[in-house]
Symmetry: C2
Subunit: 342 residues, 2 copies
């Protein structure tokens, strides 16, 4: 059977199905943003890992190695934050082909170092080896949460409000911009990519920031989300994860989806439906979470967080409410293993 | 600068040099078999990661995917054991090209599952994505030890005895055998590789077992090594790590190096110096450790553990004592990033 017949999530389900957990320190295994481990009664350890492969997750034609290092850490830190956890350590493995000089790998680690500073995490280990082709980066992040306080995908309740940090679709449109300029590149020394006025979406694609600021703001406001996930595969896909794990449905409103001006302008220029980009684009690394209805006033005061919808009964399904009032079913799209690229 | 000018260890030193640790839960960062993290006063968390790349660490011409899955877990578990820790969880990331069917990846996970059963660890997370070329496997293992009881590389003392589990050089000779048969393969359906009587070295290469049994035997006997490391890059390289980290020298005896009959026979057949294979071959995943002189009687009773030498003053250097009494300096050879393949 070809992997493309199953897709990313189908393959993961199939592969992990025979595995049961039995180690006493395993609190939660496969299926959320991170695993939860416990050594004592006060703190829990969170673990998450991501693999970044050249040609799949990044293109060194337009992705500077320093930014890539920063991004690789952000992607993992984002998963720890999505459990309402505190990121603490990372381990980094890289596979490097002969085409890279020591200076290239130093640039990558400069970005990793910057991210460690920004997120306050320690690099505590890793593995470095040669590869036959291209660059491979594998990072595992470790964090912690108070025992029982990690926020899972499974806690959303009917009538909860759906909240989203920042804006979405920007990273995807940044990627489209990079791809356009890559095609336009004519090999000449004086080629100047048309990036003016598009700095924000470029930064969102090349050097995303995991929303440590939002987690800190929620903590200060005393808000503990009922469920949370980070937006790596697109809002639609993540909402379906929360709904499935929580046994609920959801409605989000077209006109409430936060979209930056640059994202809209780029989408228009490239003739891409901006709502599709915003809901299915991926790599936003924003936080999507639910809070009880009674927290509406409190959560509305959090900077850079918007209410985009609410949780319904499971039988109501998961829908986008279009501007004309029509209900459009939300569809999943695994970003890292799309059926057409598997 | 080309990476080959630095070698694996030189590159790691250079890349990790700018990183300091400051997170309170970080007890030990880069530089040992695992990192040590602490959330409370009773237990410490151990973390280690390894990256396995097709064409570098394995060749699917002769490495069955099921065995590869088992090996990938063993390699990581071995690092946890080398800290005298208890392996508890793993996270597994894979990158898979179109050439692989679902059944191939299931075979890989069958081996991972078997290893989880053998070592008593839980699979708790991971990442699955497509790759452009070949198979990439990244595993991070998590374990635990009593607070302050993890055995580091740095604790060897002058006059300590140097102990080695099992035998060495077998995995390397198994690899040479596989490579010979790969060259001999003529593409015909009735090709039969000449593996008879070489099952042991084949197994050591293709499906290594991390020495959980030795750690359990040491625990039962009440022996806590003063220093320990697992043999992944060869006994010589690992002894140099222990010596450097502990600020000591060492002497090991040519005639005491445990070598299996199949290893010797294969080395003779292929005209390879068996002591070189035993000391620099790599991938043995045996445990190399030191104990105080006073534990000689106790450690000699542990099954499948041999005394191969002793720790000296740092100024005495690190030497192999040849059968004729000559002292031969031990040389490091990074197995995964040899200068000629970097």
């Amino acid at each position: 059977m070809e992997i493309s017949q199953l897709g990313e999530f189908g393959l993961i389900d199939r592969l992990t199905e025979p595995f049961n957990t039995r180690v006493p320190s395993t609190v939660l295994g496969v299926g959320d943003d991170t695993a939860i481990l416990s050594q004592d009664s006060k703190r829990e350890t969170l673990v998450t890992t991501d693999l970044l492969l050249e040609g799949i997750h990044f293109d060194l034609m337009y992705c500077p190695l320093k930014h890539l290092g920063f991004k690789a850490v952000s992607v993992n830190v984002s998963d720890i934050l999505a459990m309402n956890g505190r990121p603490e350590q990372i381990v980094v493995s890289i596979g490097v082909s002969k085409r890279f000089a020591v200076e290239d790998i130093e640039a990558l680690y400069l970005g990793i170092h910057e991210a460690c500073e920004v997120y306050g995490v320690d690099l505590v280990g890793g593995d470095t080896c040669s590869s036959l082709t291209g660059l491979t980066i594998s990072i595992t992040a470790i964090g912690s949460a108070e025992a029982g306080k990690a926020v899972r995908r499974s806690g959303a309740k009917v009538n909860d409000l759906i909240c989203l940090s920042g804006n979405v679709g920007a990273a995807y449109m940044g990627l489209q911009l990079c791809e356009r300029e890559k095609l336009a590149y004519d090999g000449t020394a004086d080629f100047r990519p048309r990036f003016e006025g598009r700095e924000y979406i470029l930064q969102r694609q090349l050097r995303p920031y995991a929303r440590l600021d939002v987690i800190e703001a929620l903590r200060k406001a005393g808000i503990v989300p009922t469920s949370m996930i980070d937006v790596s595969d697109g809002v639609a896909s993540e909402l379906l994860h929360i709904s499935k794990a929580s046994g609920v449905g959801c409605r989000i409103f077209d006109k409430k989806i936060p979209i930056d001006y640059e994202t809209s302008a780029m989408a228009e220029e490239l003739n891409i439906n901006v709502i599709t980009a915003a809901l299915n684009g991926g790599e936003d690394y924003e936080l999507l979470f639910t809070v009880p209805l009674g927290m509406k006033d409190l959560v509305e005061k959090i900077e850079d967080v918007r209410l985009i919808g609410y949780i319904t009964e499971e039988s109501d399904g998961c829908h986008l409410v279009a501007n004309d009032g029509n209900l459009i079913p939300l569809l999943a799209q695994g970003h890292h293993f799309k059926k057409d690229e598997a």
